[in-house]
């Protein structure tokens, strides 16, 4: 596959993909293809795809609907939860509207309780996510994966055969590899693209509902960037290499990435959801018990809702080296207790690697942009 457009146009297209796919979602619904809304990286999307439905991420990153959400929810709650609930309640998110089923997990308290409230507007299936990556945890999570399968079978009147599941596992693995090869381009120094564009592609590609085509497009983009770089194109100057970690970001929360890049840094690696955390590990396709393999792969995700969250440190440690990181910026969304508390451990971990660390607590408003700029500029001056 060849890309005919220029790179900036391709980046632009990816970053607008969420909106651009509204129409294709509508057309798919017309053809009776069901949609399943998800809110978290722990959701085993292969099972959803094996049922013939399309999984779609519903997390919201805009403060537009927060006032509506605050009529029902307390103010001091994470903006991701408030915003997502607000979009659901006001029906402003077409993907929520199109979703025949919502799949949630017992992750943080905010989301967990929000699912109870969402159940008033939609069919919600909550998977019980263990708090630990223990033997018992793996057992429970496998049961939950199977329970999800059964729920989908009943809901959509289909049979999810093992063959279909294995097929989707292979497809998803190829998708993960495509995304990984793409973000691994950032190991180059100077990086071949801005961190903002990197994120735009990762996020946008999840809204390309034709997986096969999405994989091809991402691969083509990777090839294209590599080729231009080999030919001497250096769109980004050599600057301190920053890793972003912490809560999921996107939309308005990308203001942090903008502030870093406008004040002298290059974001070359996202450890958080949307980046390596959600893509890094593959599912063992050859496993005899494919459901256990799926369960294991997902349960291994290093998110702060786990205790202890040692897998996050493992992934981070590896990425710090692979990407030759100069400094780490953690983004904590206001009132996200798990990431906020864990930032202590992360700071210590990063400091032990002799790297500077900064934690930014923020929300989806634009009120702190001035301070963000000063903070990021001062942090980068320090490097």
């Amino acid at each position: 596959m060849e890309l005919i457009k220029t790179l900036p146009d391709v980046f632009e297209e990816f970053s607008e993909q969420r909106r651009n796919s509204f129409m294709s979602a509508f057309e798919m619904k017309e053809k009776n293809i069901p949609f399943v809304g998800t809110f978290c990286t722990y959701t085993p999307t292969e099972i959803i795809m094996a049922s013939g439905a399309v999984p779609v991420g519903l997390c919201s990153f805009s403060d537009e609907t927060i006032p509506d959400a605050e009529q029902d929810l307390p103010r001091n709650l994470c903006p991701l939860v408030k915003s997502s609930y607000g979009f659901a309640k006001t029906q402003k998110c077409p993907y929520f509207y199109f979703s025949d089923l919502i799949v949630g997990e017992t992750t943080c308290d905010g989301k967990k309780k929000m699912y109870e409230m969402l159940a008033e507007f939609k069919d919600v299936h909550v998977m019980e996510l263990p708090n630990r990556q223990s033997v018992e945890g793996r057992k429970l999570w496998k049961q939950e994966v199977i329970a999800l399968k059964e729920k989908l079978e009943e809901k959509f009147g289909v049979e999810i055969t093992e063959e279909k599941v294995r097929e989707q596992v292979k497809l998803s693995n190829r998708n993960r590899l495509a995304l990984r090869h793409f973000y691994e381009l950032m190991k180059l120094d100077p990086p071949p693209m801005a961190g903002l564009n990197l994120y735009g592609v990762l996020y946008g590609s999840s809204f390309k509902f034709n997986r096969e085509k999405a994989i091809q497009e991402v691969n083509a983009l990777t090839e294209r960037i590599k080729k231009e770089y080999d030919e001497g194109s250096r769109p980004i100057p050599k600057r301190p290499r920053i890793m972003v970690t912490g809560c999921p970001i996107g939309g308005n929360a990308m203001k942090v990435v903008k502030a870093i890049e406008e004040n002298g840094g290059n974001v070359v690696c996202y450890e958080n959801c949307g980046g390596a955390k959600s893509v890094d590990e593959l599912i063992n396709e050859e496993a005899e018990d494919i459901y256990q393999a799926i369960a294991d792969r997902y349960l291994n995700i290093g998110c702060s809702v786990m205790t202890p969250d040692s897998n996050r440190l493992k992934l981070m440690g590896r990425l710090l080296e692979e990407y030759k990181i100069d400094a780490v910026v953690e983004v904590v969304l206001q009132a996200c207790h798990t990431y906020n508390v864990e930032s202590y451990t992360i700071k210590r971990f990063v400091t032990e690697h002799n790297l500077p660390y900064m934690c930014i607590e923020t929300d989806y408003s634009s009120s702190d942009i001035g301070q963000l700029n000063t903070r990021c500029a001062a942090f980068i001056e320090m490097l």
Partner: protein
């Protein structure tokens, strides 16, 4: 040869001229509602043919287009404080709108910092508002609290503290005791905040309040480390800017 450092803060704009060894001239004007005018005014007043490099810092640093370089107040404050007292390893600055704490290593490089810009309590604004309620002049605070026992002020928020003070006044509590209570409250809060960094060595206290001995003394009590200040502390940001400008100028020669 001289360098010019200008610090555009939220309440005052400060500028200094530096000859590589000492500060040869300082100037301060209120920032008021026109930060752009203030910073350009100081530039016009102080810039002359001997000035080879100008660094702007502070909130309004982007407003001086003629500056050779813009550097954040964090870096400038740190360099300014280290210039005024090479023994400092941390800086605590209580500004008009925010407060910050900066940690230096033994080579006087910034290694960590914190900023509190979310709420007015713990900033200079807090004390201004409180003094207005007490109807007292901040300039005489040192004499005003001599021999007083601090009233207990517990509110963590400017608005609530205001109510608390009004009711203390209504109860007939001595104004000096209340003032000392306010100083205690702001210093306690500042030290909680600063101690999130691994403070060591002596601490340089800057910002408008550093001019008053009572604030220095109270802060020292709360932090538990020597707190030093300098009559020039208000100019720390501008001095740091001029010092950084000097290094830049040396490099480009």
């Amino acid at each position: 040869m001289l360098t010019l450092g200008i610090d555009s803060g939220s309440t005052t704009t400060k500028a200094v001229l530096f000859d590589g060894e000492k500060i040869v001239k300082t100037m301060l004007v209120p920032t008021s509602a026109t930060p752009k005018q203030s910073i350009n005014y100081l530039y016009d007043q102080l810039h002359n043919e001997d000035v080879v490099y100008t660094v702007a810092t502070g909130y309004g640093r982007e407003l001086l287009e003629r500056a050779d370089k813009k550097v954040t107040e964090i870096t400038c404050h740190a360099q300014g404080a280290a210039f005024l007292d090479p023994n400092v390893r941390a800086i605590v600055d209580i500004g008009g709108q925010d407060s910050k704490a900066i940690l230096l290593d033994n080579n006087l490089n910034v290694i960590d910092f914190l900023m509190n810009d979310k709420c007015a309590a713990g900033t200079g604004r807090f004390i201004e508002v409180m003094m207005r309620i007490l109807d007292e002049d901040l300039q005489h605070i040192d004499e005003f609290v001599v021999g007083k026992t601090p009233a207990n002020i517990t509110s963590m928020c400017t608005v609530f503290a205001e109510t608390e003070i009004v009711s203390l006044l209504a109860d007939g509590v001595d104004k000096g005791d209340i003032a000392l209570g306010i100083i205690n409250s702001i210093c306690r809060r500042t030290s909680f905040f600063a101690r999130k960094l691994n403070l060591y060595g002596s601490i340089f206290f800057s910002g408008g309040l550093a001019n008053f001995e009572i604030f220095r003394k109270t802060l020292e009590k709360h932090v538990g480390l020597p707190v030093v200040t300098s009559p020039m502390s208000q100019y720390a940001g501008a001095i740091g800017a001029a010092v950084i400008g000097w290094r830049k100028a040396q490099k480009t020669r």
